[in-house]
């Protein structure tokens, strides 16, 4: 079976700065993988490369056996879906229409669905609406949702595309502890059966969520292991946790 996502020697330069210096990463099918690291380690840049928003200067990205290196975002959307670090929804559209659009992007949608209303798309959008707990706000413009609701919708949009691999960029950023707990519970519940790659700044947040954790420091993955082992890892403590404590 192919890995859900493989990164081989990813290099990204911005001018003279090497942001990513040969990143290797292996995410197995169905795994919940977290990517942690201090600010400026290159986590979001790595997501931009995987989702096609930017091109790597070197290295290969393989999703589910398909080489997607340097493909435009709309050409990788069937393989993977992402959420953004800053909330990214379609503000002028109603909540349900946000999800309908995402469902239209799914591999199973037909061309005719873009031109005529379709019961199947409606049903899929509605199921996602219920799953993310926004059923009572279906007709509200997305811009009017609260921050936590918008984040939930952001997640819902990514999930509704039916992509097997979900990339989440700091899904609990800017939330208080209770909101973050709820958001993580929602992620856990809605991503059953999919592969998840989560960027998180705060290791505690993903400790319960992730099966494995990779630590990105200064453009390199310095360790990949189970959460408990990562906590105990001396290099990680020095480079990341220790730095955060001091």
């Amino acid at each position: 079976m192919n890995a859900a996502l493989e990164l081989h020697g990813i290099v990204k330069r911005f001018g003279a700065t090497r942001v990513l210096r040969g990143v290797d990463l292996h995410v197995a099918q169905g795994e919940r993988h977290a990517l942690i690291g201090p600010n400026g380690a290159g986590k979001s840049t790595l997501f931009d490369l995987i989702s096609g928003r930017a091109r790597p200067d070197d290295g290969r990205i393989v999703a589910n056996g398909i080489d997607i290196t340097g493909r435009a975002p709309q050409r990788v959307s069937r393989s993977l879906a992402r959420s953004f670090q800053t909330t990214s929804v379609f503000g002028g559209l109603s909540v349900i229409d946000n999800l309908r659009c995402a469902a239209l992007g799914a591999a199973s949608s037909r061309l005719i669905d873009r031109w005529l209303p379709s019961r199947r798309i409606d049903e899929r959008a509605h199921a996602m609406l219920v799953a993310i707990g926004l059923a009572s706000r279906a007709d509200e413009p997305a811009a009017r949702l609260t921050y936590a609701e918008q984040r939930a919708l952001d997640l819902g949009i990514a999930l509704a595309t039916d992509a097997p691999l979900i990339l989440l960029d700091e899904p609990t950023a800017g939330m208080n502890r209770a909101e973050a707990q709820r958001a993580l519970a929602l992620i856990r519940a809605t991503t059953q059966g999919r592969t998840l790659l989560v960027i998180e700044h705060d290791m505690d947040a993903v400790f319960d969520l992730a099966d494995r954790i990779s630590v990105l420091v200064q453009g390199r993955v310095i360790a990949t292991d189970a959460p408990a082992a990562i906590r105990a890892n001396r290099d990680v403590r020095e480079a990341y946790l220790g730095g955060a404590a001091s």
């Binding site: 959307s77 992402r82 953004f84 379609f90 229409d97 659009c101 995402a102 992007g105 669905d113």
Partner: protein, 359 residues
């Protein structure tokens, strides 16, 4: 639906009560601009694309239709379809370039294309008819039953029917998932790409659909005045549809209809009593952009109290503006004019302040 019935009723009334050709021409002009503004709003409102070259599509459609009518004797009632399809072809060519970009770049590209096509009128006088344009004699085509479309009433009925049909078609289109995808691209192109929709392709599709209806509008104008000339595809025509759409409100489907009615009112009715009409239109346009960015359609959704005060203050302001503009225009520095204008303006200011605190 009640709004559509109102539109149909408003278009059906004039030929029932009057056979005055100027009145029918005025209503035909309104109907034409309604179709044109609705098609423009598929770009501006739905897709968030500001175009300065929309008249290119209506104009080219009209030129092609005029030639099809004169040379091949295409029946007049079918002529708008010809215009629509030719405009679509033009949009496929020009849109491939312009829809690569959004926002300011898109606006600049459309401006360039507009100037380019306008220049062609003088470069290819054979096809565009040069200064005189291309004329048709709408009665010369094959008659439909007893109708030759020569009399203005028959031509008007044809234009009104096409106006209603186009408005209904665009309304139906505005309810399609494709139009929601256009909204998604308008609101957040990066996100739209990440769920699988290339913003460029969505913009392109919307432009082609919009151009089809613009082409229809161009032919309706041709049927009304029996002439298509360089003005039909020039920048002035492109800006007038932009002004109509913004005045009416790009945020709602019926906003552009209101805008089209108001713009035709300014350019025909106000123009017939005052040569200073562009000044009134300009001031009104600025006022809408600053004070009512949702357009007149957005204003109508406010509560009754605000509406009444707003209407009163609009009257006061209009009085102040009209008196001072007309005095200036006549070149007289009449003290009496200022005696009316200044108190009106002060009253208007006071009303504006009180509505702001009331809100």
């Amino acid at each position: 639906m009640p709004r559509f019935l109102a539109l149909i009723a408003a278009l059906a009334l004039p030929p029932l009560f009057s056979d005055q050709s100027w009145l029918l021409a005025y209503f035909a002009q309104t109907a034409t601009l309604i179709v044109f503004a609705l098609s423009y709003n598929l770009l501006l409102g739905e897709t968030g694309l500001l175009s300065f070259g929309h008249a290119v599509y209506s104009g080219l459609g009209a030129f092609a239709a005029a030639h099809a009518f004169n040379r091949f004797g295409v029946p007049l009632p079918l002529l708008p379809l010809i215009g629509g399809f030719v405009a679509m072809l033009a949009a496929i060519v020009f849109g491939a370039i312009s829809t690569q970009r959004a926002s300011t770049s898109f606006a600049m590209i459309t401006l360039g294309i507009g100037e380019l096509v306008a220049a062609c009128v003088w470069l290819v006088p054979g096809w565009f008819g040069g200064e005189g344009g291309v004329t048709i004699d709408r009665a010369s085509g094959p008659p439909l039953f007893a109708w030759t479309f020569g009399p203005s009433r028959e031509a008007y009925v044809l234009i009104a029917c096409w106006c209603v049909a186009s408005a209904l078609a665009m309304f139906a289109f505005s309810r399609t998932p494709m139009c929601r995808l256009a909204n998604a691209v308008r609101d957040n192109p990066a996100r739209a790409a990440s769920i699988g929709f290339a913003p460029r392709r969505v913009r392109f599709t919307m432009l082609v659909v919009s151009a089809f209806f613009a082409g229809i509008a161009g032919v309706l104008a041709l049927i009304n005045v029996e002439l298509v000339s360089s003005e039909s595809l020039g920048l002035a025509r492109s800006t007038s549809v932009l002004v109509a759409t913004v005045i009416g409100g790009a945020g709602t489907f019926f906003g552009p209809v209101i805008g089209a009615v108001l713009l035709t009112f300014f350019s025909v009715a106000v123009a017939s009593v005052s040569a200073a009409w562009p000044m009134y239109l300009g001031l009104f346009f600025m006022w809408v952009v600053i004070a009512a960015p949702q357009g007149v359609a957005g204003l109508l959704r406010r509560d009754m109290r605000t509406l009444c005060i707003g209407a009163f203050s609009a009257m006061v302001w209009s009085a102040a503006v009209v008196v001072s503009v007309e005095a200036l225009y006549a070149g007289r520095n009449d003290a009496r004019a200022w005696l009316i204008a200044v108190p009106c303006a002060l009253l208007g200011l006071w009303l504006a302040r009180s509505t702001r605190t009331a809100r």
